[in-house]
Amino acid sequence: MDAIIISPDPIDAPETLKQFETEASGAGGIVSFTGNVRPVAKFGPVKSLFLQSYSPLTENGIKSALETAQARWPLMGVRIVHRIGEMAPGETIVFVATASAHRRAAFEAADFLMDYLKTEAVFWKKETTETEEAWIEPRGEDYSDANRWQLEDAT
């Protein structure tokens, strides 16, 4: 299975974890993050979420973030699966898994990759509720989360 998958196909997070654990057998620790479409937005129940990407910028950026993570932490495996197109509440948008002999490395790398995906990965997303369609951009919190890794680089 490829380390990076960007596709309109539904994501089965437990199944993807299963495949990843098989490939990363021998790793002491495996961390996974599953991000699902939220059921309720600011303006009421969510009807759908649309994710737009721009190939090959999207793929190239994620590949570069993956290489940064591999250079920074001793990883035995990384998996990034990101869905694009139209999806329903509760469905999985993103799945990230990291494997390492070191627990902290697996946690930090997964955390770092999610911060990248939330604030720098080349995607745009539009949330549709009963009353409106709204393009969602990262919140201040997402940017400050992502900045944690840059501050550490400087020290």
Binding site: G35, L51, Q52, S53, Y54, P56, L57, N60, H82, I93, V94, M114, L117, K118, T119, E120, A121, V122, F123, W124, K125, K126, W135, I136, E137, P138, D142
Partner: protein, 82 residues
């Protein structure tokens, strides 16, 4: 002819996600194109925001970068997935 792409909320403003056109003579740089399109679409500056980045042939570029016929030029508002 150049191919123009408007991503995310910009396509709501321009009314199209993609168009092909001949670059006007007075448009030499990416910055010139921003200005020209912002007037054309009556965007009131939406295309001029510094958070809107421009990619030419899949590379993020500066406003001072020159444009050529045949370029694929993408206007990208703030990105974010997950």
């Amino acid at each position: 002819m150049a191919k123009l792409l408007y991503f995310g909320r910009l396509s709501d403003i321009t009314g199209t996600a993609e168009e092909t056109l001949s670059l006007p003579l007075e448009v030499e740089t990416a910055g010139d194109l921003r200005q020209w399109l912002d007037l054309r679409f009556e965007c009131a500056g939406a295309l001029l925001e510094p958070t809107v980045r421009i990619a030419v042939n899949s590379e993020i570029i500066f406003d001072s970068t020159g444009l050529s016929e045949g370029d694929e030029i993408a206007f990208m508002p703030p990105v974010g997935g997950g």
